[in-house]
Symmetry: D2
C-alpha cells in the first residue's frame, strides 16, 4: 500500500485550505451500541464516525455509492481514537467531523464526539482515507473529479 504521490498541483492547493467548520451528525446511544458496562462499546464509535463521514461527503455533493460505481473506494488506512468519557445508554450525542488535511489522494478527518450542549467531550479521533481504484486494487494517482470539485467548493466556502 505505498501511495503514489503524483497528485496534481491543483489538489495540493485545495488541501492547504480545507474546512474549518465542523459537519455535525446526531446519533443516540441505543441498546445495540452498548456493552455489559451500560455504556457504548468502544467499537461502536467507529460505525458512527463512518456514518458522519459519508453524510458529510453527501452534504458536499459526493454520493459515496456513485463513487463506488465509478470504480473508486475510500478505505480507512489509519485510525486513532481517544476515549475521554463514556456515552451512556439513551444519550444523544453529536458526531462532529471535518477534513483536516489532504495530501494527494489521502484525506484526513478529525472527529469530536460531544453532548448536544457542547459541555461534554466523549471522544476525539483522527481517520485517514486513501482513494483506491477498485479494479486495479491500487491507490489512485489523483482523486476522482467529483471529489475534487466538491472539495474545491468546500475550500472556497471556508475561505469566504
Amino acid at each position: 500500500m505505498q501511495p503514489q504521490l503524483e497528485s496534481t498541483h491543483a489538489i495540493q492547493t485545495v488541501s492547504e485550505q480545507t474546512s474549518e467548520r465542523w459537519f455535525e451528525y446526531p446519533v443516540r446511544a441505543q441498546p445495540h451500541h452498548t456493552d455489559y458496562a451500560g455504556v457504548v462499546w468502544h467499537g461502536s464509535y467507529i460505525a458512527w464516525m463512518e456514518e458522519a463521514r459519508i453524510e458529510c461527503l453527501r452534504s458536499l455533493g459526493v454520493d459515496y455509492v456513485d463513487m463506488v460505481a465509478m470504480g473508486c473506494e475510500l478505505p480507512v488506512i489509519d485510525l486513532s481514537i481517544r476515549y475521554h468519557r463514556p456515552v451512556r445508554l439513551g444519550m444523544p450525542v453529536i458526531i462532529k467531523t471535518r477534513i483536516s488535511s489532504m495530501k494527494g489522494v489521502r484525506i484526513q478527518w478529525d472527529y469530536r464526539i460531544q453532548s448536544p450542549d457542547d459541555q461534554s467531550l466523549f471522544v476525539t479521533a483522527q481517520v485517514t482515507l486513501v482513494a483506491i481504484d477498485r479494479e486495479k486494487g491500487k491507490i489512485m494517482r489523483q482523486l476522482p473529479a467529483v471529489v475534487k470539485d466538491a472539495l474545491a467548493k468546500l475550500s472556497s466556502t471556508s475561505s469566504s
Copy 2:
C-alpha cells in the same frame, strides 16, 4: 421463562385496541451495515428494528432508559423475519413499526421495511417483548404504569 399471566383486566382492554398506524423511522444503509454481497447483512436489520421500537416508545412518552432505571426491561423473547428483497449500500429506507397485540406483559410488534415511496417492500418481521423485573430476573405481573399510560394514550388516539 414461563410468563405469569395475571395481568390486570384494564391492560387487556387496552391491548385489544392497539395501534393501527405505523411509526416510521428512517435509516440509510451505510457501509458498516453491508456484507461482501454489497447488500445489507441480514443481522443489521435487527439493530434497525430495535432503534425503531425504542424511538416509537419515545414518541409515546416512554423513555427506555427511565424504564431501565425503574427496574424494568423489555427483552426480545421471539423474533421472526422474512427477507423479501435486499437493501443495497446507500439506499434510504423506512422502518415501519406498530404494536400488533398485547397480552399481559407481552408486547408484539409488527415491522415493514420499505422504500420511502412505498413501492418496494424489503423486510417483514414480528418481534415479541416481555417485561422483566431487573432485580428479581423474573417476568413482571403487569407492565409499569408509565408504559400502561402511554399505551392507553395510543389506544385512545387510534380509535379516534
Copy 3:
C-alpha cells in the same frame, strides 16, 4: 423472489434424508456481544448462527468463498428465533446446527444454542437459505454440484 422449483429428482431424494446429527460450533460471549443488561444482545446470536452454518458447510467440504467465486450465494430469506434464557458475559456456549430440510434450492437449518454440558438451552432457531445466481440476481434452478455432492455425502453418512 419466487423460487423456481425445477430442482432435479436426485436432489429431492437427498433432501428427504438430511442429517440427524448436529454440527457443534463453540463460542464464548465476549464484551462486544453483550448489551447494557449484561447479557448477549439479541442480534449477536445471528452472527454466531452464520458462523456455525459456514463452518458446518466447510466440515462437509463446501468452502463458502469458493461457492461465491463460482457465482452462487446462499442468502437468508427467512429466520425465526426464540430466546429461552440469556447468555451472560463470559459464558461458553455451543451453537448446534443441522440441515432440517431441503426443497429444491431452499435449505433449512435448525439451531439449538446450549451450555457445553447440555443442561441449559438458551436459544432455538430456524433459518432458510436459498441459492442465488450472483450475476443474474435470480434464484438458481438447482444447487451447485459441489453442494449437491456434499449433501449426498451427508445423507449417506447419516443413514449408515
Copy 4:
C-alpha cells in the same frame, strides 16, 4: 479521566519487563465481518482485538468476568490502528497480542494481525486500557491482586 499514578513499586518493576512473546488468537473472516467491498470492515478488527485480549488474560489465569464481579473493569482509553492490507472473506488470520508496557493502572497492548504463515501483515495496532473501580466510576490506584499476580507470572516466564 486523569489517572492517579500512585501504583506500588512492585508493579512498576513488573511493568518494565512485560512479555516478549505474542499470544496468538486465530479467527476466520466470516460474512458478517465484511462490507460491500468484499473485505473485512475496518471496525470488525476492534472486536477481534478485544477477544484476543480477553483470551490472553484468561491464558494468564485472569477471568475477565471475575474481575468485573470484583468491581474492576478495564475499558479502552486509547486505540490506534493501521490497516496495511485488507483481510478478505473466508481468510483465516492470527491476532497476535502482547502487553507492551504497564504504567500504574494503564496497560498497553500491541497487536499484529497476520496470515497463519506469517507472510502477510494485515493490521498493526496499539490499545491502552485503564483499571476502573466500577462502583466509584474512578480510575483505581493500583491493579487488582489477581491481575498483579498474573503479570508477575508473565514477567518471570518471559525473563526465563
